[in-house]
Subunit: 410 residues, 2 copies
């Protein structure tokens, strides 16, 4: 009746094997408008000075500072207005002593300007500007390149491109940015009984669940699911499909991993490469499989999840989500983020000898165990997360504090 | 020199005004494959039974339970094999007493089946199946509809569609789902000096920053930025542009809000509707404006951010991000999520009489104030977040614990 699990592994050892899988990051150049939350794959240097020209930080009058040194509230200095320069305008006249130019915040100041007097300390008397306060050299002036000098490093490689960093890249007029590619993940659902949602449900068939759950979990990790396919539990079909997926960075399958009659994945992996893990001491998720495929470009990995949807999602979350996050340069820590500490609503006796992942719903700040077969869809409908029960625990008492992990909401 | 701020408001009062703005949610029907993290806009009922047929939960033999009652390890019962039914197959023969049918996990069981004997407790002796253990009525059988009954409620309105919920919807073969629309937000950058990244940078001009930062912040909140445009500081142009944006749920502008020469937004808002807020007792962000536009369909709101990129992002984060999240049915709590408690690296004297938002970078688990003009792009490049300093604080001492809010990384 098929091959039995050769060697049920400790989950900790499996996690070590996964952590040792090399991550090859590729890069791509994309439009700045599309790069929110992507990760810079190279240092970015300033291609221009910021600001690109000498400008005023205030509405007021560009002056030669020394002309104002004797100005006071009682004794204003009178300067002649040469021109008016708004933001975006270009001064036409060089500033001279005893003259001034009206400037708006952000406008370039004329050649010769050494300070700007704020409009609040002036009065316009028919083109004669009365200056009521003296200004120091450089006051209210922002020099060209004083914020950022051309050639200076602006953002370092591996920076997450949040809106503020998008602002920094916009400031130098960048239109395209080099970021890490989103890894491409091939998804295969195996099983003779599963059909696509567009097909008519005939007797003996069920709708495919795992293609959609696994591909959306892959998306949630920052990767791109590609080639989502259903294949029969048949050696040749599965082998051909895996070989067909030659443009992906990783393959995720579900089903076809138990030690039952229809289980061909292990055979295919044995022939196309090697099986690193087959069977983990967890419940659910025991038939999880990890294979390394040999191909012309080195190795490619395949993670085989159980066929049962809840088991597949839990195994994905517990063993593989962090790896996909890392492939995608995603900084989320799957084990630590988003956890709730809650009281258990009732006594619960877990599975013996394996880590037990128990789906729970949350009500009234209590974690309520969902006591259904792990194949139940209704349990997925109700679940708010799951708790991890170590293998040496005989019983959890009502009121015990438990950590509830979100099932797939990273 | 333009209109002064009429009434600088307390930030708490501004937040109340924003909280009172009605949110009109529209719905749309989208493909299941596109609905990750969207929010269900209607209850979903099961359109089929789950499982859709009576099936086995184990690999083994479908039997009439009473045939096995006398079976034991020492005294196996001998049943004749009628046929073999794999997952996805259809049984052709009705089960009879003294007969059995081989079934794989998930396969339908023949009519007449009342239990399944696990393969581990059997032996196949040339078509004679030896049964070594008795099974109870219903054992290892999953009845049609036992998980979910047709017509039963599966998921309630307002459920976030995570991968596990996508699994639930897949199980009934749903292809399209009714979710809340992502709100459409129009973005306007005002200023005579700003140009698009594709344009040549001439003297006096600077590249547009706010269109990109604000539209990506809008995206981060779960909304869709549309019609991103730069407009001159000109009454007619701005007014026409605002009127043109008649298909958006909200308008965000930046610039054109200070009490300076080039400030026309307030005038336009006064004419097209009313100004609810103009001026908030915060630094930076003081010139923030909130207007209600009257149109044929009731009201539309416009949030006017300062022109300075750091000020615009901080004002967006402090006042508007939560509103956009709610429009988008996003459950993130902007004020509580993602905050770090750190020690301040040095003494700092904040602005008086206003809440002061200070950009900081994080190094060695310390919050280091960024002491640059809030117009500096380099400060945005360095910033890891900001701290909020209440208005009655005279001084922050080195080592004081501060809460660092992420600037735009919701």
């Amino acid at each position: 009746m098929g091959q039995e699990f050769l060697n049920i592994m400790d989950p900790g050892d499996v996690k070590k094997i996964i952590a040792d899988i090399p991550v090859n990051k590729k890069v791509e150049k994309i439009l700045l408008k599309d790069c929110l939350n992507r990760i810079l794959a190279e240092d970015v240097y300033a291609t221009i000075n910021l600001p690109p020209f000498k400008k005023t930080s205030m509405d007021g009058y560009a002056v030669m500072a020394e002309d104002t040194f004797k100005a006071s509230e009682d004794n204003p200095i009178n300067l002649k207005l040469m021109e008016v320069v708004g933001a975006g305008d270009v001064p036409k006249k060089k500033l001279e002593n005893r003259f001034c130019t009206e400037v708006s915040t952000g406008a370039p100041v004329p050649v010769g300007t050494t300070a700007v007097v704020m409009v609040e300390f002036t009065e316009n008397n028919n083109g004669n500007i009365l200056i009521y306060e003296s200004v120091a050299l450089g006051q209210n002036i922002i020099n060209k390149g004083s914020d950022v000098k051309k050639g200076e490093i602006l953002l370092i490689k591996n920076t997450k491109i949040t809106p503020d960093k998008i602002g920094v890249l916009s400031a130098i007029g960048m239109e395209k940015v080099v970021v890490y590619q989103k890894p491409r993940v091939g998804i295969i659902s195996t099983g003779n009984e599963i059909i696509k949602p567009s097909e008519k449900l005939t007797y003996g068939k069920i709708y495919d669940i795992n293609s959609m759950t696994i591909s959306s979990a892959v998306k949630a990790c920052g990767c791109i699911p590609v080639h989502t396919d259903i294949v029969k539990d048949n050696y040749n079909i599965l082998r051909n499909k895996i070989n067909e997926f030659n443009d992906v960075d990783l393959i995720l399958t579900s089903g076809g991993t138990s030690a039952g009659t229809g289980d061909v994945l292990r055979e295919v992996l044995d022939d196309l490469g090697e099986v690193l893990v087959h069977g983990i001491a967890v419940k659910p998720g025991k038939p999880t499989i990890i294979g390394r495929l040999k191909n012309n470009n080195g190795s490619k990995y395949l993670f085989g999840l159980p066929g049962n949807p809840a088991a597949a999602l839990i195994a994905f979350r517990v063993f593989f989500a962090q790896f996909l996050m890392e492939m995608a340069s995603n900084t989320i820590n799957v084990s630590n983020d988003n956890i709730k500490k809650l009281k258990l609503s009732r006594r619960y006796r877990p599975a013996r000898g394996r880590i037990h992942y128990l789906l729970v719903k949350i009500e009234d700040k209590m974690a309520i165990p969902i006591l259904k077969d792990s194949g139940a869809i209704s349990s997925l409908a109700e679940a708010d997360g799951f708790i991890e029960i170590p293998k040496n625990i005989e019983i959890l008492e009502k009121g015990d504090l438990v950590q509830v992990y979100p099932l797939t909401d990273f």
